[in-house]
Structures are given as C-alpha cells and as structure tokens.
Amino acid sequence: MKQSNRIKAMVKEEQEESSNRPDNTAFTQQRLPAWQPILSASIVIPMFVLIGAAFIGVGVALFITSRDIQLQELDYTGDDSEHPCFKCRTNTEKCTCSMTFSIPTLFKGPVFFYYGLTNYFQNQRKYGASKDDNQLYGDLNYFTSPSTDCDPYTRDSKNMPIVPCGALANSMFNDTFTLSHTVNGVQKIVPLDGKGIAWWTDYNIKYRNPSITPLINAFNGTKKPTNWPKPIYELDTTDVYNNGFINQDFLVWMRRAALPDFRKLYRRITHDDYAAGLPAGNYTLTIAYNYPVHSFNGKKKVVLSNVSWMGGKNDFLGIAYIVVGSMCVVMSIVMLIVYARFKFGEDD
C-alpha cells in the first residue's frame, strides 16, 4: 500500500517535471468515444426491406390520393382551325371566344380555376431579373428612377419612367374568363373569387402601394407598362385592397414560374351553390382573348382542379415512391442472395 502510494507520488512528480509531455485527453490522443457503423448485412438488408415497405405504402397512398383529384383541362390557344378561339389567335383587336365542356359527376369543391402557359420562359434570367423590388415595395424614389435591371422596360419612348418597370410586369397575363353553368338551358354565371389567390407574404409584405391616397397621385410623372391596356392603379378600381401593386392577379403573375410550362391560380370557386363543388352538367367558358402566345409557339389553357392534403394532382410522386420502394425490396433480395453465397469470412 505504502509502496503503491510512493509510486503514485513518483509518477505524479515525473509528470509535473516533464513539461513537454502532451496532455492526456481523449481529443488530443484521438480516443474520442465514437459510434462506428459498418455496412453489415444485418443492418443493410433489413433497412432496405423497411424502406421498401414504407415507400410502397406511402406511394400507394399518394397515388390513390392523386387519382382522386379531379381535373378539367381546356386548351384554348386555338391553333386548330376548328377551335372556337382560332379566330382570336392572331387578332390584335379585342376578341372573345367561348368553349363548352361538360362535367359528368360532381366536381368536388373547393374548385380552383387556373390558367396555364407552355413554352413560356418566366425563368429566363434576364426576364426574371427585369423588375425593381424597391419600386414594387412602394418606394417612391424608385418610381422616378427605376433600377436599370428593368432595361429596356425602364422608360418609354418619351423617357418617362415606367411603373411597374421591367419585362416581368410588362408581360402580365391579361386574358379574362367567365364560367357559366347551363342549368335547364339557362346560362348561370359561376361566381369566381379573385381574393386570397396570392401568397400572404407577397400581399402583405413584399408588395406595398405607396401610402398616398388616392393611389393615382403616386403615379404622377410615370407611365404604364407599354403592353398594358390600363395603368396599375386601375387594375381593380372596385377594391382599394386589390389595386395597384397588391392586385392579386398582378402578385400571382409576379411570382414567376420555375419551369417553362406552368399554371397559375386565376380564381377560386367558393361561393353560392358552387361552394361544395361544380355539379355535373354543361359549362361554358368565355374567354376574353388578349394574350399573344402564337409567336413563340406557346399554349394557353384553363385548368379546373380541386386539391387534396398533398396539393394538386401529380401522379409522379406516388409512382416514384412505389418504384423506389419496389427497387429497395428487389435490391434487398439480391443482397441477401449475394450475402448468403459470398459472405466473406475469417480468412485473412
């Protein structure tokens, strides 16, 4: 006992003396406790089976959900000479055309009314960048001198600043639609709700009107975008909260699409008799055809759809989940066979 104490004392003394001795910590000696997983059969194969099963389960659920979503798509580009909108295709004047379609069973509500465009490059860099966030935030300084990002949509031919400037705003979609339901041979207009179709943050934060009333005064000395039939402060003269930069159609348009084929929310059908959905029957879609897509081979369409918990109709996720899940299961079987036949043993 005494001796061991002495040894301890000696060891201690020695350690104190040797000033250069590195510290004995798990970190410096690289002995940190650690979990060392390896890809052993007992982990990998059950994991694959588990993932496979889970994926197939989720996939089936997704697929069924997606299948249950109702979708009505109407292409109204009018490329086909038979099409009622063919006449409007190249017409620069105001042009209206209408299409009829029937819904065989109840189209469960709430029903969303989208317009869709194809081959339309909202994600083009120059196009997307062609706007002035400060201007859209209602900063009057940028009304008179918009950012050069907007070029060449910054000023009109008379060098007047354009508000809202830029290609994005200038190209705002301007077809309008009316949907009517044929009830007993009588056209009944389906009320379309244009409120609450934009993101809350866009409506409340990102886009602001200048705090000048009436709004029109803020736009003194500015011009409307060249393509627009009317200036921004007249987008919705009936509702102050849907006018100017916070006009919901404008907001929806300004949230540019990621891909060249896209659809954007136009209206919701939530009112009156149609709150529960569109009943079966014949419908007529009347289109005020303004927006030119012919030159770039684009297509225009209207989509009626309802949604589920996972959003709009998209079969891809469900199928992908089922495929990946099945692959997992197949791979787990392959691995099991390989493991059983070749498993490497003790031989060194």
């Binding site: 020695e14 040797s18 250069n20 590195p22 510290d23 004995n24 690289q30 940190l32 406790p33 650690a34 979990w35 890809l39 052993s40 059969a41 694959f48 989720v58 709430p110 989208y114 490059f121 994600n123 083009q124 860099r125 196009y127 966030d133 400060n134 950012s147 060449p152 949509y153 290609a167 934009a198 993101w199 809350w200 943050t201 866009d202 934060i205 990102k206 949230r255 540019r256 699409a257 990621a258 659809r263 929310l265 919701r268 030119p292 030159s295 770039f296 759809s305 949604v307 959003g311 709009g312 998209n314 891809f316 996720l317 992908a320 989940y321 791979m331 691995m335 390989v338 490497f344 060194d348």
Partner: protein, 1206 residues
C-alpha cells in the same frame, strides 16, 4: 529597415569582388556600405503588409481565378450572380491566410528583435562598450565571453587560452556537438586583452566576398608592414558558441545578412505532396471541363435564341444577336459554375493538414519521457504523404542504434559467460532480469556497468588464471586514456566506443586500467597496483584487423597481447589451441547470430632475446623513409603468430528501443528499408542482423565492394541473375524503362539482402549504371549502403525518387543526414540528441526510431485516409451542387439562371457543408491505433494510391452526375403542375429553388454520413448543427424583417414558410435523399461482400472482437544460435597507437562546467577534433538521457576520421 521590405534579398548589382576593411576605422569601412549586423528574416512591416501580402496571395492561381471571377461579375451584361457570392468567400480566405502570415511574420519580427538586441562588448573610442548586436559594424573589434554566441563572422584576434586557442561549439551551424578549436595568429594573439593595444590595432583585411561555404576562408591580414594569410582556422562564424574559453577578441568581417550562417539559411526547397500534385492536375482538368460545359451551354443558348428567344421578343426584347448572347452566356456560366473549383478547397486542405499535424505534436505515445521530447510536425503540409511511404532511408548511428556499446558476453577458455539460465536450463531474457552482479568488492568499479551472469565474477574471485589473463589483456591492450580528477573517480576517453566498453568491463571485473604514460600502463589488478612497461603498440588498421601490445610485467615477463577479428586471429594461433578454437568458434557463431560484435583475444609470452632483436628491427623500420608501412607490417606479421587463444568478447551495439519490432512492422506494411550509413561494412552488416533487417534465412546476401566500374557492374549483374535467373534481356528492358523514367516493381525468387560499399556506390550511382543498381537493390528485401558520404545518401534517395513512382522518407539524426532528409519526400529528424541540424531541416522530428511506426502506420495512414475522404467528398458535394445548374440550363433557355438562391450559393461551402466535412477529416478513423498496429497491411492501399486517384476522381464525378440528375429531375417532376394544399402556387421559381437546395443539402449530408466511419459527438453535432443552421439561416433570410431592411437583397421573403409546410415538398426531399443514397449503399455492400478490401476485413474483425483486443504478445528479441559468418566489427581507427606512445597528447586541466549548458565532450588534444562524438556509455544508459547532475560522461575525445558517419 527599408520601406518595402525587399532588402533581405541579396543585391545582385555591383557584386562585391573582394572585401577590404580596416580594424577600428569605421569611417573607412563605412565607405564600402557593408551590411551591418542587423538581421531581418521578416517579410513585411506595418505599412507594407497589406499590399505585399495581397500581392503574394493573388499570385496563387486559385485566388487569382476568383479575382477574375469577381471582375466578370461586375460586368452587368455577364453577371449572373451577385458580387457577394464571390466576395464573401474570397474575403474570408484572404483574411484567414493573411492572419496566418501576419502571425508568422510577427514571430519572425520578434525573434529578429531578440537577436538584434542581444548585447555584446564592442571596442569603441578606446573603450569597451556594451552595444546591441545590430549596431555592430564591419571592422569593429568585439569581446566575447564564455558561452556567448558569436555575434558575427569574426577574425579571431586573441584569447584567454594558451597558444591563442578558442573552443567553439558549432551545433547550430553544422550539427556537430563536439568542440572545435580555432587558433589566432601569434601576431594578433600578442594583443591579449590589452585594450590600448587592441584600440591601436589597425590591421587591414582583404578577403573573399560573402559566401555560404562554411569550411573555407581566404584572405590576408596586413599589419605592421607584414602580410599574414588567413584561413578557416582563424575565423569564428556567427551561430557558434564559445566554450571553455574565458574571453576572446575578434574583428568583425561579415555582419548580419552577409554572415555565412545567414547565407546558408532559408533556401530549403518547398516540398509538395503527391496529392498536391494530383490536385493541381485535377483542378486543371476541372477547369477544362468547366470551359467545356460552358461551351455546351453557350451553344445551347445560341440554338435557343435562334429557335425560341427570337420569338419570345413580345415579352423580352433582344438587345444582342444570338451569337453575342451565346458569348455572354459563356461567361455568365463560367461565373455560375465556378463552384466546381471552390476556393474553400485549398483552405480546408490546409486546415485538415494543420489539425493532423497537431495530433502528431500531441501524441503521448510519440513522446519520449527520458529526454522530455515530444514529437513535432515541423511541416504542416505533408501529412497525408506519411500514409504513402514506400521507401525508408535510415541512418544507422544514433537512429537505429544508441551508439552505446555494452560488454554483453564473453567466452573464456571455452566457457561462455553472459547468459543467465533458470533452474530448468531455460535462457532468460536479460532485459527482464533484476539481479545484476554486485561489484562492490571493487572500489574502482564503474557503478553504471551492469552484468547479470554471476559465474564470471565468481571465476574472477576464484582467481581462474585464464579469466585473469583475459581481463588483463583487456586492461592492457587498447589505446584508451584515463583521467582521474578525484581519487578513484576514473574517466576513460576512448577513441572507439568498443574499446571503451571493453576496458570498462575489465575495470569492473577487477582489472582497472588507471593511467598510462607513453611507455607504461598502470593497472590495479584485483586491488593491487601494478605497472606494466609498454614496449610497443602494434597498431590497428583495416587490413590487419587486430591490434597488439607488447608489455613487460612488473615481474619482468614479456608478453604480447592481441585482440582482433576472429578470422584473423585464428590464422595466427598455435596448433595447441585447436580444441579450444572449436569451442570458441561455436560461441563466436552464437554471438554473431545475436548480432553482437565479436573480437577474439589471444596472447603469447615472448622471449627476451628475440624481442630485443625484433625491437631493433622495428626501430629501424619505423625510422626508414621508404616503404615504412610494408616493413612494419612484415615485422608485425612475424611477431603475431603462434598465439594462444584466450577467448572472445561480444559487445552489443545497443539498438534504440524497439528497433527490430519497428522494422518488422514496417516490412509487413510493405515499406522497404534501406540503411545508409557512414560506418564500415562489418559494423553495418552486424547492425543489419541485430535489427532483423538481414536474416540468416535469407537466400543470399550480396556484397558489392568492387573497386572499378566493371567489377561493380559485374557484381550487380551476378546478383540480378541469381535473383531472377530467367531475367534475360535485362539491359534491353532497362533502356526501354529509362526512357519512361519509371521502373516497375519486380519479384525476386526469394529473400535477398544487398550490402554495398561507398566506393562501389560511387560507380553504381553513375548514370550508366544507376538503373542496374536500382533494379538489383529493389529486388532485395534489405539494402545496406555503408561508408557513404552525405552526398551519396542524397543521391541514393534521388535515384529512387527519380525512377520509382514511390514516396520516400529519410530518417536520421546527424548533420550528415541533412542532405538526405532534404532530398526525400519526407525528412524525419531524431531529436533530443547531438546537434539540431537534422531536426532543423526535417519535416517531422521525434526522439526514438520506434516512433516511426506510429508516425506512419497510425498518423500517416489516418491523415492519408482523411485527406482522401475529404477530397472525394468535397469534389462530390461541389460537383453535385454545380451540375444541377447545368441541367436547369436546358429548362431556362440557357440564360445562366441559377437554380438556388444566391445566399445559398454564398453560404453552401462556407457554412452549410464546411464543418461536417472538416469534422470528418479531423476525426475519422477506420480502425483505431491498436488495430492499425496489428494489421500493418492496412498501410498498403496508401502506397498504391488507392483512396484518391484519377479513377477515384472520375467515379466521384460520375456519382455526382447521378446525384445532380436526381436532385434536379425529381423536384422538377414533383413540382410540375402541382399546387399547394390551399390551391396556391408552389411551382414558382423561388419554391423550386428552395426545394432543390434543401434536397441537395440533405443528400450531401446523408452522403457524408455514409462516408464517415467514426461518429464522435462532435461529428454528430456538426452534421445536425449544419442542417439546423441551414434552416435557421434560411428562415431568417426569408423573413419579413430581413426583407424590410434590404428589399432587393432578400427577395425570397416568405418562400420557406410557404413551401416547407407542404407535405409533398417533404416527401420530395425524402425521395431525393433516398434515391441519391440507395445505389451507393447497394454498391458498397455488394463490393464488401464480393471483393472486400483489407479495410473491410479488419473492420469486420473489429466488429467481431467488439472490445479492444488484448495487446499483441510482446515479441522477445529474435535470437538465433548458429551463424556461419563472423561477428567481427570494430569501429576503431588507425593511428592511435602512435599517438598514445608519442606522448603528444597534452591535457588541459578539467574546468568546472558552467551549468545550464548541455553536456559536451571537450577537446583535449593538441589537434582540432572533428566529426561527431561517438559517445559510449558502458551501462546501457541511453545517450540522450537528461541527467543534469551526473558528471561528464566519457565522451569521445579524439577525432574519428574513419569511423565513418561523416
């Protein structure tokens, strides 16, 4: 201090041809504008730091590249990314590097200041004044005192010692710790310390201009109308230390930057690792493919502009033609895709290397407590190369051996002593014994001498006549000198450590050599003082391999005592000893088999009459002018015959601890060890055996010692032919290979060893023969080059570097190893002993050879593994990140639209993925150190470059290509035409960007998890923390607040909130992550099952063992009992017999040593000792033991011309 800090470079214009100066005449000397004694190693000062440092940093390709990118980004037409995406990382990198450079430079300033402000006494205005070093000027006379550093390069004027000698230590300069002697001219020596005289001294010196040759000096001193030649003997160089000299005066010849020390320093070559070189190649490839991708996209843009864009003008007007737009797009994509070569790559690599270097510094298992020396990574940029070493070049003395000789065994009159047996007759391991022989009967015994076999001391006590004769011989037949400062406190000064050990052994067994005069030797035989008359010393040389003394005992009996190589002695024995010879031969073989150095001892009594005649002839011969050597040889030959065998001694050249085990381990790791030593062949061979490098079982050991190129070539050819009998048409093959500058590895038909001599090596290294030599050497398992010069050591290393695509490491301890340490890819210095030169020029240093296995098998392997994992993963994550842009280009009109938010691009490498990958590269280990030692084969993949190579890189690229496809197209398909649960938009660009970047981050994080085999808490924290950080930062930057502050900088407001609450977004994230990872897991699993690597096997074993395995069984030293070779090896040099008998050696009285300075052997003889001190300790105490309170041990006092190692 010059403003631009550029004056540290030698001025080239107006080069000085001759230096002229006059003592004590500052006016005159100033006219030449010689450098003052201030030194400046720092690069910057306060004002120049920023411009100079930035200038230097932008010389690096990566930084310059980012600068160009930044300029591109400022062109609005091209700029596809905001300026901050480049500026933030670039600024960070520049700041980190600048901070490191600044600290380095501050340290240099500090050490400069410290040196410049040292005080020295200078003779100014006829008075000695204390001045700062930096104020000393050429032509000043300064006074140095004992233990002071020499201030500048001085001409020695006078000193306190007789004959104007001074003793200096040159360790800092050339690594040699023994003292050198310098002597002043008598004419200046007469000045003494008389200040008046010195002040009047107006000698004029003309000498060579500043240069870096340490060993030469030319000049003249003109004084009092006379001219005196000056040579190196009269020059004290800056960097030396004055020892054992009370004071001296010197005239400053060169100051500051012009001193030889400074001229010599600093030009060490910058070493790069093979990974570095590979990385440079890869980066160039990446640049190539970057340009290629951008070309494709530019062409795509052209086509799109023609087909689509021109039609889209309704909504977006065109400013440029399609061709010009494609040109701009090219540059825009150069900016966007720049992340394939991330700037953080180089910084991260440096951080990882630094971290792994710290691990080496911190390793307690590489700390040597006896000398309190931790391991040190002196270079922080070479770590991963430690995991790829294929060739180790080792010095012998001081590296493999401790240079301590131990009297280990002996055979006397047919009886072997030295081994200890237990009662069952089992031989015990001496190193484990605790019961040494008690020498207390002998008052003069050396207390540090240890011996375990009690039988021998019994035999001495029983007055066994043969045993007495044996030890008497050892006490008489040698050239050792004894110093007795106090009564009974003997100090032996031996020229060779072998002799020291033998004489010390005799001393302890009761035959104490006490003193000698030129013609007598006093010994104390079992307590009785006896004086033998020394009649002749028949000196040792390399041909004779023996030495004899002829003495007359106090009783008047004439005897010849002889010791030498067994083969030589056996030829000269009397027939009567034949029986004894047989027995002794067995013992000698046994000793040799254990790697001990053996000597045979014999004696004969001489006839008085015969001897007197012989002596006359001897006198005649030694005074004859011609053919003296051969005449003497003849005489010696004549008298040294019909000897009677006494026995044999076996001396152990004590190896450093664990050397055989280390060599065995390294051999298992397929590392080839070549020993390059200045020692002679026998000694080197012996060590080869004792450290298990050469083995008795080897099929053959070739000895190449030819003296002409033809001989050497023939010997090499013969060796090749016996190793590869079928290897015909070799020479054809060789010429072919030479053109490729690469020699393939070949297999010999067995294990062979090669020993090559220095002079043969000189021929073998000639360009006509070097390939033959290299081939032969590489076929052998072990290669020993002996008697090599430092230059040859470097040449051998260069040869291997040149023709073998292998990484080399050189390890050594002395100044003679510096060239090889600098030449090899990695240089390792043994620290804690001798000079510092080897350590100073090394990349890594530690105290013991055995730490090499830890350095390589543990630290090296881990560093390599970590670096490779890091690079693989790093390239993967950046390629994946970048390729998504490439795919997106096809859907956005090739308009250089980024997929991700710009902030994400900025922070991806800096914040979101930096720490997890650093964590992996700092902590990862496949198996722990114990297992690494148990399976040295784990080291082999590194040598073969398996973990990171062009193939691995290509796999990385393919893998990331796959991942990027998944990461783009799954979100694409999942978001296509879909909407949020409330019917609102979710397929907008911002949501898509957020989704893709989130998927990417998850995928690369999970991939990292797969790569990591060692999950510490830190790693887990880093990985999860980075993900958490991503979400925190994303939500913050997409928050209302940030938008309100900078509306245009944070346009993604609300995106996170609006899309991350959607179940299908999360389902997409899970899907992409799993899809990215599953194929990798499957491949890995199948690979492990079908063709497991060594790592897989060991990891599997570890898993089975669960707990740490029991420590590997301690291997006892490999002992063999039979040998067919002679164990003779004696590191003695010729010429000492004469010295001893001539009485020329003059002794200086012992001077009490100043404390606080390391122990040094002092020069004692009248000539200047050179060479390294071969300290011997008779007790097995390591030389590098720090025992400050022990008196000066017997360090070598003589010059050792031929004990090589110079």
């Amino acid at each position: 201090m010059s403003f631009f800090g550029l004056d540290c470079f030698p001025k080239t214009e107006g080069a000085e041809l001759e230096r002229k100066l006059r003592a004590n005449d500052r006016e005159y000397n100033r006219s030449f504008k010689y450098a003052t004694n201030a030194i400046k190693t720092s690069k910057y000062n306060f004002f120049t730091f920023l411009p100079l440092n930035l200038f230097e940093q932008f010389q690096r390709i990566a930084n310059a590249y980012f600068l160009v990118l930044l300029v591109l980004q400022l062109i609005p037409e091209i700029s596809s990314l905001s300026w901050f995406t480049t500026v933030v990382p670039l600024a960070l990198v520049l700041t980190v590097t600048a901070a490191k450079d600044a600290t380095d430079d501050i340290n240099r300033h500090r050490s400069d200041n410290q040196v410049n402000n040292r005080k020295v006494e200078v003779l100014i205005d006829r008075k000695l004044r204390s001045e700062k070093w930096m104020d000393v000027q050429v032509g000043d006379i300064i006074k140095l005192e004992n233990n002071q550093f020499v201030t500048a390069d001085l001409l020695l004027l006078s000193s306190s010692e007789p004959l104007n000698l001074v003793y200096i230590e040159t360790a800092e300069l050339d690594g040699e710790t023994n003292l050198k002697v310098k002597q002043a001219l008598p004419v200046t020596g007469d000045l003494g310390d008389d200040i008046e005289k010195l002040a009047d001294f107006n000698g004029e010196v003309r000498c060579e201009p500043p240069n870096n040759r340490l060993d030469r000096f030319n000049g003249t001193l003109a004084f009092a109308g006379q001219k005196y030649p000056l040579d190196n003997e009269k020059i004290l160089l800056r960097g030396c230390t004055l020892r054992n000299t009370d004071w001296c005066f010197g005239l400053v010849l060169f100051g500051g930057q012009e001193t030889k020390l400074m001229q010599n320093s600093g030009k060490s070559t910058f070493k790069r690792t093979s990974i570095d070189r590979l990385m440079n190649v890869l980066v160039l490839c990446i640049f190539g493919s970057l340009v290629f991708m951008c070309m494709i996209l530019a062409i795509g843009n052209y086509i799109w502009e023609v087909k689509n864009g021109s039609n889209f003008t309704v909504f977006l007007q065109r400013k440029h033609s399609a061709g010009f737009s494609a040109f701009l797009t090219f540059w825009s994509y150069i900016i966007i895709l720049n992340t394939v070569v991330p700037i953080s790559l180089y910084v991260s690599v440096e951080i990882i290397r630094l971290g792994n270097s710290f691990y080496i510094d911190w390793d307690r298992k590489m700390y040597y407590s006896r000398s309190d020396t931790p391991a040190e990574a002196r270079t922080t940029t070479l770590n991963e190369e430690l995991g790829q070493i294929k060739y180790v070049f080792s010095d012998k003395t001081g590296t493999l051996t401790q240079n301590i000789m131990i009297f280990n065994k002996c055979s006397i009159n047919g009886k072997s002593y030295g081994d200890v047996y237990d009662y069952t007759g089992q031989r015990l391991d001496i190193s484990e014994l605790k019961d040494p022989v008690d020498f207390s009967f002998n008052a003069l015994a050396d207390p540090r001498f240890v011996f375990y076999d009690h039988a021998l001391v019994e035999a001495v006590k029983l007055e066994n006549p043969e045993v007495h004769a044996f030890f008497r011989l050892l006490a008489l037949c040698h050239t050792v000198m004894a110093e007795e400062k106090k009564e009974g406190e003997l100090l032996y000064q031996a020229q060779s450590p072998d002799e020291g050990a033998l004489v010390t052994a005799a001393r302890n067994f009761g035959f104490v050599f006490r003193s000698r005069t030129p013609d007598s030797i006093s010994i104390v035989e079992m307590g009785n003082q006896r004086s033998y008359e020394l009649l002749a010393i028949l000196d040792f040389n390399n041909v004779r391999k023996r030495m004899s003394v002829i003495v007359r005992s106090p009783e008047g009996k004439l005897s010849l005592y002889c010791k030498g190589a067994d083969t030589i002695i056996y030829e000269r024995l009397h027939q009567s000893c034949s029986k004894l010879m047989d027995v002794t031969t067995d013992h000698l073989n046994e000793f040799a088999g254990e790697g001990l150095r053996t000597l045979a001892l014999a004696y004969k009594d001489l006839d008085e009459e015969y001897f007197s005649r012989w002596r006359e002839r001897h006198h005649e011969a030694s005074t004859s002018l011609e053919d003296k050597e051969s005449k003497l040889d003849e005489l010696y030959e004549e008298i040294e015959k019909d000897l009677l065998l006494l026995g044999a001694t076996a001396i152990e050249d004590k190896l450093q601890d664990g050397v055989p085990q280390t060599i065995e381990q390294l051999a298992k790791a397929d590392i080839k060890i070549w020993v390059l030593t200045g020692d002679k062949q026998e000694t080197a061979e012996n060590i080869g055996y004792s450290c298990n490098l050469l083995r008795e079982e080897m099929k053959d050991i070739f000895i190449v010692s030819g003296h002409s190129p033809e001989d050497v070539r023939q010997e090499l050819r013969n060796a090749q032919n016996s190793m590869k009998p079928d290897g015909a048409a070799n020479s054809l093959l060789l010429t072919e290979e030479k053109s490729k500058n690469l020699i393939k590895d070949e297999e010999a038909n067995g294990e062979y060893g090669l020993v090559i001599n220095g002079h043969s090596l000189a021929y073998a290294l000639e360009s006509s023969m070097e390939l033959e030599f290299l081939r032969t050497a590489c076929l052998c398992k072990a290669v020993i080059c002996c008697r090599v010069t430092p230059l040859q050591k470097a040449q051998v290393v260069e040869l291997v570097k040149k023709y073998k695509k292998a990484v080399t490491l050189a390890i050594g301890d002395g100044a003679n190893d510096v060239s090889m340490i600098k030449a090899a890819h990695i240089g390792v210095g043994i620290s804690g002993q001798e000079g510092m030169q080897a350590v100073l020029s090394s990349d890594y240093s530690f105290a013991q050879f055995r730490f090499l296995q830890r350095l390589l098998l543990v630290h090296g392997r881990w560093s390599y593994l970590r670096m490779c994992k890091f690079l693989r993963y790093f390239f993967y994550k950046n390629f994946t990140f970048t390729f998504v842009h490439f795919w997106f280009a096809f859907f956005c009109g090739f308009s250089a639209q980024t997929v991700y938010d710009e902030w994400f691009i900025t922070l991806y490498n800096l914040m979101y993925t930096a720490l997890p990958v650093l964590g992996m590269s700092l902590f990862d280990q496949d198996v722990n150190d114990v297992w690494s030692f148990q399976h040295p084969q784990l080291y082999i993949p590194g040598q073969l470059n398996l973990y990171f190579s062009k193939t691995a890189f290509f796999k990385c690229a393919v893998h990331s290509c796959y991942s990027s496809l998944v990461l783009f197209f799954i979100p694409y398909a999942a978001l296509q035409d879909t909407v949020r649960g409330d019917g609102k938009d979710v397929a907008d660009y911002q949501s898509f960007a957020l989704l893709t970047q989130t998927c990417l981050l998850f995928a690369v994080s999970i991939q990292l998890g797969l790569e990591m085999s060692y999950w510490t808490a830190v790693n887990t924290f880093f990985v999860l923390g980075s993900l958490a950080m991503y979400f925190a930062v994303t939500f913050t930057m997409y928050s209302n607040g940030m938008f309100l502050i900078f509306p245009s900088a944070f346009p993604f407001i609300g995106t996170a909130r609006n899309s991350l609450n959607q179940p299908n977004v999360w389902l997409t994230i899970i899907l992409t992550s799993i899809l990215c990872v599953l194929p990798v897991v499957t491949c890995r699993f199948l690979l492990i099952q079908l063709c497991p690597t060594i790592n897989d096997k060991v990891m599997f074993k570890v898993r089975q063992a669960r707990a740490t395995p029991p420590p590997p069984p301690r291997r006892s030293r490999i002992r063999r009992t039979s040998s067919r070779r002679s164990g003779y090896a004696f590191s003695h040099a010729q010429g000492y017999g004469d010295l001893v008998t001539s009485g020329r050696f003059l002794r200086r009285p012992a001077v009490p040593r100043a404390s606080g300075f390391p122990q040094v052997g002092r020069a004692a003889t009248g000539f200047s000792p050179m060479g390294r001190s071969a300290g011997y300790s008779p007790t097995g105490r390591p030389q590098n033991l720090k025992v400050p309170d022990v008196e000066v041990t017997s360090l070598q006092m003589y010059r050792t011309f031929s004990d090589g190692d110079l």
